[in-house]
């Protein structure tokens, strides 16, 4: 796994510096720990401290230009850093900041915004969220209704965003809003930076079916934004969003959390021993039907892992287009649904009722809660695959060319909001 033998002298020096600096300073990795709970304030505080440690050691923003506080090194140095960081918990809560906001700013941000926000991000001072989805439209991102109007030298935002991971812990958000409703829907959007503590911002956690509430809904009530806090061009938000979404896909494919991306993952089939344990507990080891169910669960897990690895390899080598991540996403969803059905059939009533000890019957609740909605519904993944990979005709579009406020549905919706 370790690629130390490939190091140049310079790389070797960097490796030793990283090794030495992190030893004793960074918190150890706990394999049992949830990678990232954006509803857990303690974890967030710990990760802020860790990020500051990396900054102080010259290990923050390894590939970010030095002008914005980074190290200005190439990708090889990041791999070396990740190898050396393997024993530690890296700060996982900055996923939005590093995976999405940073590339948005580097590609489209003004010098002012870049110097204002990137170094603070690298020091672990700011947590970021992305403010894209709205209650009125999930898959139809660019049909958003949140309005931003220019009043004097300020932009004033009104509307609502939803499914914001960790919204209530965030300092800043990158927010797409409609600045010109009189043009077709893609053309009248602008990307802003919003101070989440600004007057008029209300943040409500969303309670999920299974408990937990690291998603939030935000309401913006005349929230003022300085004129220079536009990322990219006014009414050019769609272009910024393309960068944004591409980065999101790439990050999902390679692993959202820095430090969970192991540069050369061992490729061996892992069999979930819990399946076997369950069969033994139920006395079904020799039951042929149970064995068929378990064998299928083993197989679909393995196929999913192999497919993800293959798609990742294909994207990296250029053999597959970057949108191929949709194949993995769709298979993840289908595999999860099938797995819950197999395990439910295996355990029968024990899937829906258990003696106290756990908070809930896990297998049955998995069955209730396994849905691929966040991060793009299966429908959107199938659209991407069929239209971009298979080059099948696009859906007839009824809203692509008309001015946004002349679409019947929107005119009433915007009147309400």
């Amino acid at each position: 796994m370790n690629t130390e033998h490939l190091d140049t002298d310079e790389q070797r020096a960097f490796r030793l510096k990283a090794r030495e600096w992190m030893a004793g300073r960074m918190p150890p990795r706990d394999p049992q720990e949830e990678p990232c709970d954006l509803g857990d304030g303690d974890q967030i505080a710990k990760d802020r401290r860790s990020q500051r440690i990396l900054w102080d050691g010259g290990l923050a923003g390894i590939t970010v230009p030095a002008a914005y506080g980074g190290q200005g090194l190439d990708k090889r140095f990041e791999d070396i850093f990740l190898e050396e960081a393997e024993p530690y918990r890296l700060p996982w809560v900055f996923g939005n900041a590093f995976n999405i906001v940073l590339p948005d700013l580097l590609a489209h941000g003004s010098e002012h915004l870049k110097t204002l926000y990137i170094p603070a991000m690298l020091r672990g001072e700011h947590m970021w969220c992305q403010l894209l989805s709205e209650p009125s439209g999930g898959s139809d991102l660019f049909g958003l209704l949140t309005r931003a109007e220019k009043r004097g030298d300020k932009w004033v935002i009104n509307g609502s965003k939803v499914w914001t991971s960790g919204g209530h812990f965030c300092d800043y958000g990158i927010c797409l809003a409609r600045t010109d409703p009189a043009v077709p829907k893609h053309q009248g959007l602008t990307m802003f930076i919003v101070d989440m503590r600004a007057p008029g911002v209300t943040i409500n956690p969303i309670q999920l079916v299974r408990g937990g509430s690291h998603f939030c809904q935000e309401f913006f009530d005349d929230v003022e934004i300085p004129e220079d806090h536009v990322v990219g061009e006014v009414n050019g938000g769609w272009t910024v969003a393309q960068t944004h979404l591409a980065q999101e896909r790439i990050s999902m494919a390679r692993g959202w959390h820095i430090g969970l991306r192991t540069p050369a993952k061992a490729e061996t089939i892992e069999v979930q021993t819990s399946y076997l344990d369950t069969a033994r507990q139920l006395g079904l080891e020799k039951d042929r039907h149970a064995r068929v169910l378990i064998g299928e669960a083993i197989a679909i897990d393995a196929v999913y892992a192999m497919t993800t690895a293959r798609v990742g390899k294909g994207i990296r080598s250029g053999a597959l287009p970057p949108t191929s991540g949709a194949l993995s996403s769709l298979m993840a969803a289908n595999t999860a649904v099938r797995r819950t059905a197999l395990l439910s059939e295996l355990v029968g009533p024990a899937g829906v009722a258990v003696l106290p000890g756990e908070e809930e019957p896990v297998i049955g609740m998995d069955r209730v809660c396994t849905h691929r909605i966040g991060g793009g519904t299966t429908e959107m993944q199938r659209n991407i695959i069929s239209e971009r990979h298979l080059e099948l005709p696009r859906e007839p579009s009824l809203d692509r060319n008309l001015p946004f406020n002349q679409l019947k549905h929107n005119s009433s919706a915007m009147a309400k909001s």
């Binding site: 439209g137 999930g138 309670q207 079916v209 059905a341 029968g348 024990a350 849905h371 909605i373 299966t378």
Partner: protein, 375 residues
């Protein structure tokens, strides 16, 4: 279940629906769950007063049906209960009322039935053990004799409403065969072990029997000869469960259809996208199959048809499998809002998933079908 209903049945359906919409809408379940409660005793009593339990009880014990006549009507009620994911102890009480009305002694009938009919008493039905196949056949409890008494040991698994019941109808096996006993829940040696559930509007428990000594007067039917009556009770229980699932799915599909017609994306109602349309067409087709199978099963039991046992397992196969499949996709079609506690759809999915798993998974009923077909 609108195909082939009589006028009286339509009236029963409408009365029940109106009562439930007023007294026990789905929102009531969320309010109960927020308080960590699982049902409202007052609503149950009112429902009982409407005659839900009396459907299985002859007139002289407070009801208004003889023999198996109440099964189709009870299935109509169960379907309505499913539409609001009702939380009261209908299945447990109805099954025991049916059992005692059919096989109980006069003393048992007189003592228990009027109180069940009025909603004053709750009874639970212990059939199976705790294994993965629990729910399709008797098991878990063994009975021996000690003098004139009977002694029960073992664990009855996944017993609905045991924790709120005053009476247990217990099925236990001896060398001679199956026997059934009607005993108070507080009989010495009986321990109720409540379970954590996926379905927040229901209560299940394992019931442990340790050297539980019971007098002969507690026997329901003949000692060692209860197999046929137990089979009939199982049929009633599963048929009512299937009817309930039909109601769950029917209602979930209804509001999902409303939703996809009103929710816009890309300038169109999402219900206009063919991928969703075609899945919904598949769903309504399988729901029609579930309605057909559930109705057939109830009718076959009521008519004492020779294919009643097969019909019940056919219904469970269809309702169990497609109940979960359809409601799961209904939730999916709601997108993000379907994943929130505030939306109703998860209560429907919890009930569908639970009904699939309890009283025999579809797979367990498939095996049973082979046995019934002589394989």
């Amino acid at each position: 279940m609108d195909v082939g209903l009589t006028e009286d049945q339509i009236a029963l359906q409408e009365t029940t629906r109106r009562f439930l919409e007023e007294q026990s809408p789905i929102g009531a379940l969320r309010r109960l769950a927020d308080k960590d409660e699982s049902f409202d005793p007052a609503v149950w009593r009112q429902g009982a007063e409407l005659g839900w339990v009396g459907l299985f009880v002859p007139e002289d014990h407070g009801g208004f049906s003889e023999g198996f006549q109440g099964v189709v009507d009870a299935a109509i009620v169960a379907e309505e209960l499913g539409r609001v994911v009702f939380s009261g102890p209908f299945h447990a009480v109805a099954t025991v009322a049916f059992a005692v009305a059919q096989a109980g002694s006069d003393a048992q009938k007189a003592a228990l039935l009027p109180a069940l009919v009025s909603g004053d008493a709750i009874a639970a039905w212990c059939l199976s053990g705790t294994g993965a196949q629990s729910g399709v056949e008797p098991g878990g409890l063994a009975v021996t004799t000690r003098g004139d008494d009977h002694v029960i040991d073992g664990i009855a698994g996944y017993v609905q409403d045991a924790a709120i019941a005053q009476h247990l109808l217990v099925t236990a096996r001896s060398d001679a065969g199956l026997s059934q006993f009607l005993i108070p829940t507080d009989t010495p040696g009986v321990t109720i072990l409540p379970l954590e559930l996926v379905d927040l509007g229901r209560r299940l428990a394992h019931v442990r029997f340790e050297d539980v000594v019971i007098g002969a007067e507690a026997l329901v039917g003949e000692a060692g000869a209860a197999a046929a009556q137990v089979e009939r009770q199982l049929q009633v229980a599963v048929a009512l469960q299937c009817a309930e699932t039909v109601g769950v799915v029917d209602r979930a599909l209804e509001f999902t259809l409303d939703y996809v017609k009103q929710r816009y994306a890309f300038g169109r109602p999402i219900g206009g996208f063919q991928a969703l349309k075609h899945r919904l067409a598949d769903h309504v087709t399988q729901l029609e199959g579930a309605k057909a199978a559930a109705a057939y099963a109830a009718k076959a039991i009521q008519d004492e048809s020779p294919d009643a046992a097969i019909a019940v397992s056919v219904a469970k196969s269809q309702c169990g499998k497609w109940g979960t499949e359809i409601v799961r996709d209904c939730l999916h079609m709601h997108g993000g809002i379907g994943m929130t506690w505030e939306h109703d759809i998860h209560f429907y999915l919890r009930r569908a998933v639970s009904n699939e798993a309890l009283w025999g998974t579809p797979a367990a009923h498939h095996e049973r079908l082979c046995a019934l077909a002589g394989l």
